[in-house]
Subunit: 682 residues, 2 copies
Amino acid sequence: MAPSQDIDSLAINTIRTLAPDVVQKANSGHPGAPMGCAPMAHVLFSRFIKANPKNPTWLNRDRFVLSNGHGCALLYIMLHLMGYNLSMDDLKQFRQTGSKTPGHPEAGHGIHGIEVTTGPLGQGIASAVGLAIAEAHLAATFNKPGFELVDNNTFVILGDGCMQEGVQAEAASLAGHLQLGKLIALYDDNHIQIDGDTALGFTEDVIARFEAYGWHTQVIADGDHDLEGITKAIEAAKKVTDKPSLIKVRTTIGYGSKNQGEEKVHGAALGEPDIIEVKKKFGFNPEEKFHIPQEVYDFYHKLAKKGSDASEAWDKLFASYAKEFPELHAELTRRMNNKLPDGLLAALPKYTPKDAPVATRKLSEIVLNKIAPILPELIGGSADLTGSNLTRWKGAEDFQPPSTKLGTYAGRYIRFGVREHGMAAICNGIAAYGASIPFGATFFNFISYALGAVRLSALSHEQVLYIMTHDSIGLGEDGPTHQPIETLAEMRAMPNILNFRPADGNETSGSYLVALEARDRPSVLILTRQNLPHLEGSEIEKVRKGAYVLQDQEKAEICFVATGSEVSLAVDTAAELAKEGIKARVVSMPCWELFEEQSLEYKMSVFPDGLPVISIEAMSTFGWDRWAHVCIGIDSFGASGPYKDLYKKFGLVPEVIVQKAKKTLAFYKDRKPDSKLRHPLL
Amino acid sequence: MAPSQDIDSLAINTIRTLAPDVVQKANSGHPGAPMGCAPMAHVLFSRFIKANPKNPTWLNRDRFVLSNGHGCALLYIMLHLMGYNLSMDDLKQFRQTGSKTPGHPEAGHGIHGIEVTTGPLGQGIASAVGLAIAEAHLAATFNKPGFELVDNNTFVILGDGCMQEGVQAEAASLAGHLQLGKLIALYDDNHIQIDGDTALGFTEDVIARFEAYGWHTQVIADGDHDLEGITKAIEAAKKVTDKPSLIKVRTTIGYGSKNQGEEKVHGAALGEPDIIEVKKKFGFNPEEKFHIPQEVYDFYHKLAKKGSDASEAWDKLFASYAKEFPELHAELTRRMNNKLPDGLLAALPKYTPKDAPVATRKLSEIVLNKIAPILPELIGGSADLTGSNLTRWKGAEDFQPPSTKLGTYAGRYIRFGVREHGMAAICNGIAAYGASIPFGATFFNFISYALGAVRLSALSHEQVLYIMTHDSIGLGEDGPTHQPIETLAEMRAMPNILNFRPADGNETSGSYLVALEARDRPSVLILTRQNLPHLEGSEIEKVRKGAYVLQDQEKAEICFVATGSEVSLAVDTAAELAKEGIKARVVSMPCWELFEEQSLEYKMSVFPDGLPVISIEAMSTFGWDRWAHVCIGIDSFGASGPYKDLYKKFGLVPEVIVQKAKKTLAFYKDRKPDSKLRHPLL
């Protein structure tokens, strides 16, 4: 049955009847948002979004982000209608193990049209700010008169939940400052959150807040029906090019359900009886499930044709661009193809033990100065700790709206402000846009402010570089509020992320090399405030294995494994032991995760049977039992004081470790230990 | 030399000359904020703050929070002037190891007058919202006509950094909704952050934003001099009782330094030459260091006398209250003394294996229903997941402004909104106020949004209960965006926090018991969405030891250790093995941290030599090598699907674990393993 409705109503009512079916079959999910947001989604997709489902990575496509990701039945339906690689069968497999339609939209897993991962609230709108930054930056970098290669919009739908999250506030404030005119957010103002009416705890004036941020704002009083109003508002928003736009759309959650406008329709299947009534109400056959009228398919496929025409026209434009601007064309092509420029390894500084000691944050700065000029896709900045993180290379230009006279959109240094969570989510958006490698910086301890977004970098396979300085008690006087203890354990336990804690200059260069080559996962560079010596035995390429024997002696009796600043401590301790005739091996482990990926043979060569292993790291020992028989670290919070005092206070000095090594040797005198790798299941 | 200045100027200039000395001696710290905020701090402390340094835990004292905690030289100086337990020698030991004046203000470490830990930006203002909530709640609960026992203000100074943090935005939005009229925040608007002028990235209209939140706002144009303006603004703010107040005070960072108004004065010592000029400028002897004119001491000590008079008057009032309202008096006294009510243990539900399986989140709800009526100090709520976290007990009243008609300030259920980070920081403030035990709830995975504040619960020894449901892939269809993997490793690596993952009803009761008894550290209750059976061998009191032998067989050959939902999986696996004549021990470990605190003897009795141990936990195996020879878990992200499918997908089913157990047994056939506790250094 194809009800006689105008095509817009028919399409919207298709969404409103299909979404409950999708959720009902899974008996899990969120029907309310799809039913309430159907009109704005239909208007966006049918009248505005420029995209080619057959060329889903087209650089200049409009980006759409469903920030209230729990409403993903809506997104999956729209992608199916548009002709993306989501079939009706995929919709029927909603939330089933192994399906292409998981409980929340996951980017980076081969489902086209999903630009960023959403679900954890606030992430979508914040990452959308990153998408818009990437657009503005690439446009300023590559567009030429007559060649508007990059000029897409970023459209967002977000709900009350997103509006309450701090990450949203951080990113929205920065977006206003940055005057990101191509960012257009539709706020699904349905007055309902999980606990009930938003009156329970969310009574701020959202419009006034966004105006305070410098956004352009509009209000649609009847988002359930007023398609023309929504259309005009989006058109008006597109015309405002120096401000991001917020359109508050008053809707009814679960529109059409008997419980519409109530929290009941938010997060559970409606139940068959209600679905039957919904279908009747919208003129659909109540007996028919998963029904999309052919007219609706036809209508959407025609739109898809428009999208593919646009994408093909762009290809032609880009071909002409190749003739007019061959270097820029080659450069953008390289970047779109995720190919690193040549000469990266050659550009990285190398060191010998004769070079003066330097803090790894400073070594990171030296690397950035070397690579920034040859790696134009590198774009990022610090959460207001530039002078401490040392992330701004010489000659860097700020990414700023030209009107501020503080920089331009072609600038690659982003002043994130004291907004760590927003920064990480924005980096996810920049990475998701493509053709850029974003980085964000703060003190390592404050990655804990940003974990919600860092986790999504890992889950979404986004290449983001987190440059985290002040990595331990070695930061000294700032004290325990700023000293990471548990932080590295958390990062190591997180899947699909590389954590580098380099020990010296060569390892810092090597860490950057591997992090830049890792195109499908984020990396954390964990760097000292204090100076470290350059070590005999370190090499850039050795970082690739994650851990390696830095210094050794024939028939070593004991092995130290350490990371970062504690590697030189291990070396010093080994030297002390040598004075007493005790032979020690020193293993440096700049990247735990890479070491785990090595062959068992290689790993056993580093930690062989019979050799007692002592780990040394100036933070929680949690996790180190994996490699070490004895774990030395700090399992309390840190303290405020000059860092050398603190190392002494916490027993991280050769004289204390020498004693522990001797005790360990005594213990294993007659019972040489198995390697920790001698694992029953390996 | 005592310059001839009026006493206010003299006091302010004392701060402005002393702070640089304090920072200079440490050669580390932040002189800019103390110099710029000296006038507002002096006005606050000399004209408004009601406190008794000799009775620093007086319930009805005004609370002062320096949210820009890096400016703590200011706070330490004010506390010294007021006569708190901070001597001039302590000021001279600023930022030195073991001193009472660490790099950022740490609450919970015996330094009186420091209400909450600050330094990590945004935490102070957010915790101050908690202080104000606690005040409003206790006032509504205990005040009677003529007995305004609780009527203090919470004063905050915060800077641009705090203003950019999401946690601040979350808490400020909620504070506006809650109409917390006794919260008065002074915003040190100095236009400078670490990277430079705030124009670089922070150009929002802060006043308009706070008005959008429902705050009362005022502006002081010249915060460097206009003491009367600041005074009048605070007086006006005090008169507005149904809105929190923000007073934007335009100041000059580092006022008096040659680099005043620039970022240079933010975070480094001024240097002796500049300090000499500063002292000259303010009429102080440039040769004299750490100088406080006697007049200033006298002036402040007189204020302290006023404070002690007020505190003594309160003691008398409270004594009269005892006569009029003996029960309320006894109750408040009990709560102020951190004494739990009698009968808690008796109230906790006990279960036998015959009882029907229940999800631990539901068991938690049952506990809350039992204890909420007898534990009136329990106050808290959920970040908009009430129906999922099951944290609202029957008959609970919402904590709401009476004008909303949705509750009263006597209500104990807080609608935090989707504001996880703000929630945790607010809980810190409620705990810091005293006489309450706060709790906050969300999905376990989203504790990662709140870690900045959770860490401060632990560092500050605040008793906060984090009720975290949906604790693993067991949540099912919501998928990897919502399934914790690395989260528990992070929490276990964090010092001074208890993490409970109960396996059944008795363990849930026991976890609450121990968490409530732990008055000086936070606890995390990690709870399932899915039903779990009640286990043979579990008991409430056994939780105290952290881990215990749940089920055993004589001459067990292998040992499983598991937590939460995986304990029953271990039991099932042991039953499968028993069919094949293999004897297994099952250890339940509801709280890793408590187990670590047990005697070696006890621990060895759980994990004896010769017994191979296999850990089972449906998340990252990171850390488990500490106890187990074989670690079974999930070291990738989760997946979206019905939870039973997911357990199968990830090999967390008896048939797979049986195979791993057999391989383990084969491996250890001739080489019985040492207990992991057979540690060289123990």
